[in-house]
Amino acid sequence: MSAILQGAGAGAAAALSPFNSIDSNKVVAPSRSSLSVRCKRYIVAGSDDGTNQSFGSSSLVARRSQPLMIPNAVSTTKADTAASSTSSKSGHELLLFEALQEGLEEEMDRDPHVCVMGEDVGHYGGSYKVTKGLADKFGDLRVLDTPICENAFTGMGIGAAMTGLRPVIEGMNMGFLLLAFNQISNNCGMLHYTSGGQFTIPVVIRGPGGVGRQLGAEHSQRLESYFQSIPGIQMVACSTPYNAKGLMKAAIRSENPVILFEHVLLYNLKESIPDEEYICNLEEAEMVRPGEHITILTYSRMRYHVMQAAKTLVNKGYDPEVIDIRSLKPFDLHTIGNSVKKTHRVLIVEECMRTGGIGASLTAAINENFHDYLDAPVMCLSSQDVPTPYAGTLEEWTVVQPAQIVTAVEQLCQ
């Protein structure tokens, strides 16, 4: 029996971006002013209940996703998702990489300054087909194939951004962007600040990361842990075709440098997304499944492991609340905080390594801000501090499995 998810449509009103420290004693009302500067122009498309609500000038949020349940960890067969009900009357089905491509293409149509650069993104269409067809449509100059030097083409993207373009820089694999760390940290994150606000760097740096299927240690990296300290950048992780397209569009429109983390194993997820234009808020978390007993915070591929565990948990009588945090820097502590105040128990499920990962920072942030609301210590399930082994069985056990999640919840809810 599949747990029924509800799109939290009303949650759309809570459009804001609270960050790592909040005075938890006060009721934190959605602070519209923090977003109003950015949000005035965007259209909010409504499709799940048929009525078209626009939220005026001060909120930027996309409609929540349809009642959608992806029962398996990673859905590589389309049959899995065919069973899920999509109640949107209009909409089209596509795979996650196609959703990214659609978002990118729409933004490139909309703004001639948007361009793409990376290895094999041009006529080859990108290693994961995210830029397929774009070079034929927009030309070689706007979809630029670069030689192999991540630091150089990231630096190039930064220079182009400072001169008025809006580059989308693709790392063939997130791990390769370690070579671009110098440019990302010293130039991308800093130059808006050190130039006194004279130069903006509206780049999007994106690529697939995470543990795949036997890709080897060097191609199974979780860069979000390394990048999270860099001041001046924003980080988001997509997990469904819906939020992939929405986050891609929002990232391109943002004036700040944004790093968009995709996952190698999620590119073939299928979902029906609205035909109308929509954007997801960069700083907002996504309520996947509301519940009462425990808050499970996760992102990217682990969302699916959590949802699979949720099935088991529901059968055992638990009611987990699952939140896909989506915004890795900064954390959406408003949504998270409200959830903690309701359930009083937190489990973080991540793919990062134990030491210094997103979960480590999130644990600290929750403890600091919501300590009084916790009935149990925050538990974090993460990968071990080992390079990802190649052998399939070993690799499987470096990643948190649904069985472990079920055990952890049972332990926390005693």
Binding site: G122, L141, M156, I158, L165, N186, T194
Partner: protein, 468 residues
């Protein structure tokens, strides 16, 4: 696949390649790519048929074997183009017998060399060049002394490299975007940055463009198209290529210009940026100030090639070596290079030979690794200012009186700018948190609140002259 088919191949070879273009498939790296989508001459060599984008490397071998009878004249189409064979085992020497000659127009004494080619400079430009070089020299000396007196925290002089700074700036247009390393304040000076603005940045006061966030000499001005100095070495080179790419996309009559030192050429970014610029056909000038020293590392410990100029060819970039202390030669070289870069859409590498007369910075004492005599010789006998001065005086455009007038005026202005900058308030605390993002997010606002709270609780531990 060679891109510049027009310029380098004969007609028969051209059709050979076109023929094998239509066969089979190969790797994506061999795709014939044209970056100027509207150029009609590309229609011939680039078909819209996707199959022609991939080349078969086998097909040509069969046809070429039949065509050539003499085994020595056989050629083979490897990925990347035709190469001739040779039965002799010959290594290309690591260096040529003679070093690449250096372009100069004025001799050591400031006399015009006979039969020299150079771009004529008007009296107005020449006098402005010289005045700005003098201004730069005086500014450097005064700032350096101010640091020694404890009024400034840090400074890095450009002594000895004034001609590179000013003459190159003079040859560019205001729309050309500059990506400096940190020893090119002269370019800003030429474009109109005032002495007061320099001083404001060095003191990091509230009138600073950078709002007090960077060290001294890390200038930046959006208005003057001079990108804020980032302390990391050579990271500006790929940035410049990106800017050039952007200018090319917008079809602007401008190029990107980037400066770096001999030391910066060892960084990975240098090699990558040159390679990228050549492949992207980006209009960017790479100006290397080869001043002999990277802090204490002489060029003999930095690279073993004949300087920087020979490296251009390795990337397919046109290059020139110039006497960096000859203002006229610098002007001509940069002027010509700029034309080429923009009209032909190509990068150009300019190696300007010079000498770093000053220390690397105020944190360095270069007498520890080089002789004081050597420094003195370059400062006096090879001074770029005196050479240009001799030339403009010989044209009747300058006099001793104007010299002393200029020097005393600049010195007075400089001291005043220093005094005012020192007195000006620092930026207020809010600037510590603004501009990290476009809009300060809640976490930064919270952190700012915490800092203010701490200051309120312990005012005695906080400097009184920084505004809140």
């Amino acid at each position: 696949m060679a891109l510049r088919l027009r310029s380098s191949l004969s007609k028969s070879n051209f059709f050979n390649i076109l023929r094998y273009n239509n066969l089979g498939f190969g790797t994506a790296s061999q795709t014939t790519r044209h970056l100027r989508t509207h150029d009609p001459t590309t229609l011939l060599r680039v078909s819209q048929n996707p199959i022609t984008r991939f080349c078969n490397t086998m097909a040509e071998k069969l046809s070429s074997v039949g065509e050539h009878e003499d085994a020595n004249a056989q050629v083979m189409d490897f990925p990347g183009g035709k190469v001739a064979f040779t039965p002799e085992i010959k290594f290309i020497s690591e260096s040529s017998k003679e070093r690449v000659p250096c372009y100069r127009v004025l001799d050591d004494n400031g006399q015009l060399i006979t039969n020299s080619h150079f771009v004529q400079v008007s009296e107005e430009v020449a006098v402005k060049m010289y005045s700005d070089m003098v201004t730069l020299q005086i500014m450097d000396n005064i700032f350096y002394e101010a640091q020694r007196q404890g009024r400034l925290s840090f400074y890095a002089t450009t002594i000895g490299e004034e001609a590179i700074n000013i003459a190159s700036a003079a040859a560019l247009s205001p729309q050309d975007v500059i990506f400096p390393q940190y020893r090119e304040p002269g370019v800003l000076l030429w474009r109109g940055f005032t002495l007061q603005e320099f001083a404001n940045q060095c003191f990091g006061n509230k009138s600073d463009n950078g709002k007090g966030r960077q060290m001294p000499v890390h200038y930046g001005s959006n208005k003057l198209n001079y990108f804020t100095v980032s302390a990391t070495i050579a990271t500006q080179l790929p940035n410049a290529v990106g800017a050039a790419y952007s200018l090319k996309m917008d079809k602007k009559d401008a190029c990107a210009v980037t400066y770096f030192g001999d030391g910066g050429s060892s960084e990975g970014d240098f090699h990558a940026a040159l390679n990228f610029a050549a492949v992207m056909e980006a209009p960017v000038l790479f100006i290397c100030r080869n001043n002999g020293w990277a802090i204490s590392t002489p060029t003999s410990d930095q690279f073993r090639s004949d300087g920087l100029v020979v490296k251009g060819r390795a990337y397919g970039i046109r290059s020139i070596r110039v006497d960096g202390n000859d203002a006229l030669a610098m002007y001509s070289a940069v002027h010509t290079a700029r034309e080429m870069a923009i009209t032909e859409e190509r990068p150009i590498l300019i190696e300007a030979l010079t000498y770093r007369v000053g220390h690397h910075s105020t944190s360095d004492d270069s007498t520890r690794y080089r002789s004081a005599d050597e420094i003195e010789w370059w400062n006096k006998a090879r001074n770029p200012l005196s050479r240009l001065r001799t030339w403009i005086e010989s044209n009747g455009w300058w006099s001793d009186e104007e010299e002393s007038d200029l020097r005393s005026r600049i010195k007075k202005e400089m001291l005043e700018a220093l005094r005012v900058a020192e007195k000006t308030e620092k930026p207020n605390l809010e600037n510590m948190f603004s501009d990290v993002y476009d809009v300060p997010p809640l976490n930064l606002r919270e952190q700012e609140r915490q800092v203010r709270q701490t200051i309120k609780s312990y005012p005695q531990d906080y400097p009184s002259d920084v505004p809140l």
